[in-house]
């Protein structure tokens, strides 16, 4: 009976052709894979495979160019927004997106990120925040939570030594050059649908020449966090989300309804992770 259903005309979901056949190198359950897939699905749905250029970072997603079947450049660590700036300015008809992790975007590449946003570059930036340096073995990231253990904060991040987790997304929302700033996740089907809609909006904004659109994906790092993928997603909900609240922060160039940007940037209480 089941075999009667598996027919081309009944297909409702399959891997997008904008992803290559290469098996991704990400750890089992890693949000990078899901994020790649929904970016690729958006490119397919908008019919822009032939006019899209991506910029990969240094970090876990350094090999992103192998997985997207679109033209791609691999940037030096943190410099993706600079590359994207020039690609877009010299080729205004291309759809340009960067794909970066938290170390790349919010530590070594902070200047490039802030200035691309401040110039209002008409690009789409996808920012995957898992609060840790995954590729180099789980060291502290700018986004590592207070009290969170990492390879370089083995007793937990302490404010006195390491400062505060950087909420760069809220920071960027305060800049007049950003048009759309949102924070999403990809750990449940509902979250994936919302994140995909946000990424689609970010590409549409670019097509409508609205300025910079920035989509943060709060994600997991089960290897770095030393948990199973399912545990990691639960831990993320309990610890990452209170510090990195999910939802739109800036829409159509205005701070989103219900968001007090001052509270988020300055006063939002930092919760300490559950031990």
């Amino acid at each position: 009976m089941a075999n009667d259903i598996v027919k081309p005309e009944n297909l409702v979901y399959s891997r997008t052709k904008v992803l290559t056949d290469a098996t991704m190198h990400y750890c089992p359950g890693c949000g990078h894979g899901t994020t790649h897939r929904i970016v690729a699905e958006v490119i397919e749905e908008l019919g822009i495979q032939g006019t899209t250029v991506g910029v990969a970072p240094v970090g876990c997603s350094v090999l992103a160019y192998n997985y997207f079947d679109v033209d791609f450049q691999e940037a030096a660590h943190g410099r993706a927004p600079a590359l994207a700036t020039a690609i877009k300015r010299l080729n205004p008809d291309l759809n340009v997106f960067t794909y970066q992790g938290d170390g790349d975007l919010a530590a070594i590449g902070t200047a490039e990120t802030v200035h691309a946003a401040n110039r209002g570059e008409n690009i789409t930036m996808v920012f995957v925040n898992n609060g840790i340096y995954g590729m180099t073995g789980g060291q502290m990231a700018p986004t590592t939570l207070v009290g969170m253990k990492s390879a370089t904060t083995p007793y937990g991040r302490c404010v006195e030594r390491n400062g505060y987790p950087l909420r760069i997304t809220e920071m960027l929302a305060t800049l007049p050059g950003t048009y759309y700033v949102t924070r999403q996740s990809v750990h449940t089907p509902a979250a994936v649908r919302k994140a995909k809609a946000a990424i689609k909006q970010a590409f549409l904004n670019q097509q409508n020449k609205k300025g910079l659109s920035f989509v943060e994906i709060v994600s997991n790092c089960n290897s770095g966090w030393k948990m199973t993928p399912v545990q990691a997603n639960k831990w993320m909900e309990e610890n990452m989300f209170p510090n990195y609240p999910i939802g739109d922060i800036k829409v159509d160039g205005k701070i989103a309804e219900g968001i007090d940007i001052n509270r988020l940037v300055v006063d939002h209480p930092l919760s300490v992770v559950n031990k």
Partner: protein, 360 residues
Amino acid sequence: MAKELQLMKGNEAIARAMIASGCDGYFGYPITPQSEVMETLMAEKPWETTGMTVLQAESEMASINMVYGGAATGKKVATSSSSPGISLMQEGLTYLAGAEIPCLIVNVMRGGPGLGTIQPSQSDYFQSVKGGGHGDYQLYTLAPASVQEMYDFVFDAWDIAFKYRNPVLILSDGAIGQCMEKLYTRDFTPRWTEEERRKNAPWGTWGKPATRGHNIITSLELDSAKQEIFNHKLQAKYAEMKEKEVRYEMLNCEDADYIIVAYGSSSRIAMKAMQMAREKGIKVGLFRLITLFPFPTKQLNELSKKVKGMLCVEMSAGQMIEDVRIATECNIPVEHFGRFGGIIPTPGEVLEALENKIVK
């Protein structure tokens, strides 16, 4: 703008040559003594005429990475800076060389190390031709000695850059950048059309048509065996440059007993020193390097078999001299004379050094 005679600063010549040679984009950051490059571009507003993009970046790191992004789409993209700024660009330069991206970088050298001075110097020779950044790579390096060459070498740079898929460095200095001289401008070369870009840069990331696979610009290879093969490919490219693209100028070398070897500003001072020596009856010739990489090893070696000694004149503590000594294989004495930290030597000092160190 047709070919005409003008009076112009070296830095301005660089900017005007970029516009005239069909450059698609310039990304830079101000630093003395090269700031007139971007100032000229911004004043000229080429985006209204040729369509060239000009952007002031937030740093030299951003500038060179904007060059990477833009040039990787197969367009003619340039930046310029001076020594400390060029140091900041070294990461980008090794990525550009590793990803084989044609582009143009101009260094208007000033005295170092560190923040140093803002006066002319030639102490970035090692940085320019011995790596600068990490890995086995070379930049095709042109050393202009006049405002005219500042202008002309921009045109030459695009030809070499795209022929070899390699970054080209114009290594100038604060004297050439700041001095005003007469200059013959050239006819405009239009920017490439979309068709020309796709034809000249089939490897570029200009959007994947259904007819080809996706183009990837990267300098990363996790398989060391493949990386070694790639390095061999780069070395073969550099060997071909050494074979075909060496440029130099020889003055009065036919009957010379002694040779002054110099490039850029130093070669102009050396020319005067050569004349002064000849007036005293010392047969001196001038070997002026135009390309620093590829280095005229063969030519200097042949010359070393005919003369009694060579004096290397550089505004540095002695950098180019190492390559001259390698080239001349200890056939003859090769000595260095240099002022540095921003001091320009006088012809008299050069002549004195020649007499004391070489002629004896």
